[in-house]
Symmetry: C2
Subunit: 329 residues, 2 copies
């Protein structure tokens, strides 16, 4: 039994020790996996004080020295899995550059990121499988080396394919999902990653953007009949684009999501949190890529495009930066 | 000569003594016309202290007693012309009720208001001609009985018809336009009022709404390539709707308006001023009516509709009222 447990433990590199990387990295290390983190501004703090997660699912305290801290990806020894947990705002080239030194043929790369198309630039530099990991989690980095996990926490994994078709439930998906599951994280396994990405956009595109442009929570949006209508219309555009891109989603999925959001405890979207903190907004990944994909198949998304233009305007405005910009890693 | 001048003087009633009614009412009175104003909260102040306009085109000071102040339209004696100068946010029924007691067969009613369709409810209660008066003016009521006129000031007049077709340059239009002109106001005379209303919407629909939703001036909107693209796309929707409604506007009109706006001194739109002052926004007249008209002829205006939903959300939100709401009259 001990031998089995040992052989199942693997080496993880986590790039970015923020709300996502800090939370899941700590859980994996606590479960016994060897953890390497790549951090920039927080590296010294992590080396000296370790990583602490206050979590509704049980706190985790990783003492200094119990995991390896690196300033650059090139310093990390070969690992089994790389979790890329930086905001997409660094751009696809920078994301690929972070992953490239670690992405040998035996290594699985997981894009723990929002939006559409985030895996493709990683696949271009990776020798092994590339997965998408879609997190449904309420967590925040409250200070260097200190993450607060407030609610939810599940991750949906699927494997990227060059042509966007379903990869099926691959060994790489199964292995990573099993590691997370054993570390106490609720997981879902997806045969068709692109379909899953589109389904997540059905929620993210209306709620992320409107919460920023209208400075509103999901509860306020759902309580206003016009805003609710607009959310549903935008969802309709995402369904049309997804269908035309080969990933049909039934209309009732949008209706159910609308109902579920109206019923759920209101919380701020990730883009709202970014806006409040003065961080750059993930507009390219959540809006730009789906709009480009829809355009390629001849589908108009005028409401989504309106929202994207508005977000880019707000993102570019210097006065919106109410707090200091936090570095991407 | 004296006899001619005297016979051309007429009796004007101005309903609402704000930025519009106060400014043009003062100019008409200063030119010798008999002025009756209908005011609510400001009536006592106007009776005791008169009406003062600080204007880039020359100040006007109407002493107390030099014009008549009424609390209700029913108190006003028969007049030649009624200028309705209240915000459209009072709604069509209330607007018609304000005008009805004054609108005999010999009386011309002028809707000095924004938006589309504001004349129809007045025509339903008026015995004489109903005009639209579209003001291009930068003025503010800075205190009761005190208006500041900062820039511009022209008014475009046209006569309403039940079927929306061109009325031509009617005697009523000519008479009112001549009075304003002699009072020192630059005027334009429109043969086709509905066409003029649509042309004004080409500017008002994008700039009013975006200036509020994005909390931005026209200069900031024009400096951002995405916002500029969005403005032009929204203008395109207005052109399509206007054309389908029988009032074609050439594409170059939108391009010229875009260029002119980029070149002009930035100023806040009327809706932005309303939002800043915590007043209700003129959403029905500027968005609701054009959207309904477009819908009736089968034209989609998804970007305009998005903006309208966003504005209604912001308008309904209690926290947006940063200052006390100023009464409509």
């Amino acid at each position: 039994v001990i031998a089995d447990a040992v052989t199942s433990l693997r080496r993880y590199a986590v790039i970015g020790v923020g709300a996502i990387g800090g939370y899941y990295g700590a859980r994996l290390a606590a479960a016994g996996h060897e953890l390497h983190v790549v951090a920039r501004s927080d590296a010294d703090h992590l080396r000296r004080h370790g990583l602490r997660v206050d979590s509704v699912d049980g706190d985790v305290d990783l003492p200094a020295g119990s995991f390896a801290v690196h300033d650059e990806p090139a310093e990390v020894p070969p690992v089994d899995v790389v979790l890329l947990a930086v905001k997409t705002t660094i751009g696809p080239e920078a994301a690929a550059a972070l992953v490239a030194p670690l992405a040998g043929p035996e290594t699985t790369v997981v894009a723990m990121q929002n939006g559409l198309g985030v895996e493709a630039p990683l696949a271009a530099v990776a020798g092994g499988p590339v997965l998408g990991g879609m997190c449904f989690v309420c967590s925040n980095k409250v200070a260097p080396g200190h993450v607060r996990h407030l609610d939810f926490g599940s991750v949906t994994f699927g494997q990227h394919t060059a042509d966007g078709r379903a990869a099926g439930l691959t060994p790489a998906v199964e292995a990573v999902a099993a590691d997370f599951e054993k570390a106490g994280v609720r997981v879902s396994r997806l045969a068709d990653l692109a379909a899953g990405r589109w389904r997540k956009l059905v929620w993210n595109i209306p709620y992320n953007g409107l919460s920023v442009v209208l400075d509103a929570g999901t509860d306020a949006l759902m309580a206003d009949p016009g805003a609710r209508t607009l959310v549903r219309q935008i969802m309709g555009e995402v369904l049309a684009a997804a269908g035309a891109c080969g990933h049909p989603i039934p209309e009732r999925f949008a209706d159910e999501m609308l109902e579920a959001t109206a019923a759920m405890t209101p919380y701020d979207t990730s883009m709202k949190l970014d806006a409040l903190a003065g961080r750059p907004l993930e507009i390219d990944a959540i809006y730009g890529a789906p709009l480009a994909a829809a355009h390629d198949v001849g589908v108009a998304m005028p409401r989504t495009e309106t929202l994207a233009h508005q977000l880019r305007f707000l993102d570019a405005r210097p006065t919106k930066r109410r707090h200091s910009v936090r570095p991407a890693i």
